[in-house]
Amino acid sequence: MNSASNIKVAGFGGQGVMMFGQILAYSATKDELFGLWFPSYGPETRGGTANCSVIVSNEEINSPIFKNSDHLVAFNGPSLEKFKKNVSPKGLILYNSSIITEAPKGCDQTCLGVPINDIAIELGNAKVANMVMMGAYLELTKMFSDETILAVVKKILGEKKAHLLELNEKALEAGKAFVRNASISYA
């Protein structure tokens, strides 16, 4: 990976949006890169779109605030609507096609819908939808190895939830498999 990636992750509260962003920042730290995560907090997280910003960089990070995202990961329709206009022309838009049924129009970026809720339910637990998205994201960006991501997820799960690691691993793989089988036109 070279230089910095600005990533916007957004969705409803409870979809694992913040965790998605934190996993990226933890992974950056684990790989001895620079990671920065910050949440939108306060009233805007209630009912509307919860979002977080992540920067992964191989050099020290200056501004935590960025205008344009290199990658947008949208877990619901309002998030896609709100943030798609600020994605770099050569950027990536990943969205949850389980609930966003209409592909965004006039999208110059690499744009892919992943039915993360459906895939997660097939795996037996709707809560791992964000890890399905993570698999898809990593397959497209190659930002971190499975080894790094799984080590981070294992640490977050802790001993109490260690039994969920296998399910998370499956979700990750399912997301990756979806991307491998999808037809994508790259920007």
């Binding site: 890169l33 920065l36 306060g42 501004s63 935590p64 605030i65 205008k67």
Partner: protein, 356 residues
């Protein structure tokens, strides 16, 4: 130790533990709640004192008492909460007791908002407490710098017997960054706390009194002269700033905290456009790095003060500039955070930003 990813407020709290905090007294307020949350677990685990007071006023007076007993004491709050603590802060400064206060700024005035802002520059450097007292005010720009400063803050407070205020904005408090807790701390030879009110069994025949009341006018003036001498020494020894790209810049930005980091990115963008911009980044807001302004070349076209406020540090920029250069101002407030392109735009349209 390898780097860890940590939230600013939690990192600040852990750094306070590493800096040797004995006791924390506080009252909850967003966006700094992770500071007491973290300490409530880890201080008690370490056998130290954590106490959630009934109010900010109670908390700062508990700090006053425990500091008087010679302990390393801390409180934390955010803008309106710091406002409530001002009376106690003046008393602590007057009684020359060491303590550390962290303030995680949110939007103001009044209850304002819980979003990040820098509207408490006046509150931190001019204070709402009465009398001729000064704090030592640090304004780190990152979580790493917050850690480095917090680890040293109790030493600075003890060395000068003065309250230290660590001032960050809600963004630094709420975000997470990769940080290193093992960076070295400056060595300071600390005086023995022979003034601490620990009971006459520790200092037979001598009563130690922590007090800010001096009924005799001459006695109080003498105390004020002594305080001013101390503040001059602090200014001489502890003023900190960073200068970036100061070789013949077209413009110089002055910014601190999160705003300084946004400006760093703007400076890179401006360089790509062929505009050379330097930066003076105060790390201590009080004492203020006035002398750094002497390094701005005559050929520089102007100074742009950038803040997450409507213009407060601007006063110190004008004082330090002494009329040499044109001074402009760019500010956002209320929790609105500019991206670097807004700073780029402000420099490109400097003439519209000039205030003096």
């Amino acid at each position: 130790m390898a780097k860890v990813l940590m939230k600013g407020n939690e990192a600040l709290a852990l750094a306070a533990i590493k800096g040797g905090v004995d006791a924390f007294y506080g009252y909850p307020i967003t966006p700094q709640n992770e500071v007491p949350e973290y300490l409530s677990k880890h201080l008690i685990d370490a056998g130290k004192v954590f106490l959630q007071a009934e109010s900010e006023v109670a908390a700062i007076n508990m700090v006053y008492g425990a500091a008087g007993a010679g302990k390393r004491v801390m409180t934390s709050s955010s803008s309106p909460g710091i406002a409530l603590k001002q009376e106690g802060i003046s008393y602590i400064a007057a009684a020359e007791l060491p303590c550390v206060i962290s303030s995680v700024m949110r939007g103001g005035p009044g209850l304002g908002s819980i979003q990040p802002a820098q509207g408490d520059y006046y509150q931190a450097t001019r204070g709402g407490g009465n009398g001729d007292y000064k704090l030592i005010v640090y304004a780190p720009e990152s979580i790493q710098e917050t850690i480095d400063i917090m680890k040293d803050a109790f030493n600075v407070a003890d060395f000068y017997r003065n309250p230290v205020l660590v001032l960050i904005d809600g963004l630094i408090g709420q975000m997470m960054e990769s940080v290193d807790f093992d960076r070295p701390v400056k060595e300071r030879k600390l005086p023995v706390k022979d003034w601490a009110t620990t009971g006459t069994k520790d200092h037979p025949g001598r009563r130690n009194v922590a007090n800010s009341l001096h009924i005799d006018a001459q006695e109080l003036e003498d105390q004020n002269i002594h305080l001013q001498e101390k503040y001059a020494l602090i200014a001489k020894n502890e003023t900190q700033h960073e200068m970036i790209n100061m070789e013949n810049p077209d413009y110089v930005i002055v910014a601190y905290g999160t705003m300084a980091r946004i400006c760093r990115s703007a400076i890179k963008e401006l360089k790509a456009k062929g505009i050379s911009v330097g930066m003076i980044r105060p790390i201590t807001l009080l004492p203020y790095p006035k002398l750094a302004f002497n390094m701005i070349p005559e050929t520089t076209k102007g100074i742009l003060c950038c803040e997450l406020s409507m213009g407060q540090m601007l006063d110190d920029v004008l004082i330090s500039n002494k009329g040499r250069h044109k001074v402009g101002f760019f500010g956002r407030s209320g929790g609105m955070l500019p991206d670097p392109s807004e700073i780029v735009d402000a420099i490109e349209n400097f003439s519209d930003k000039v205030v003096e």
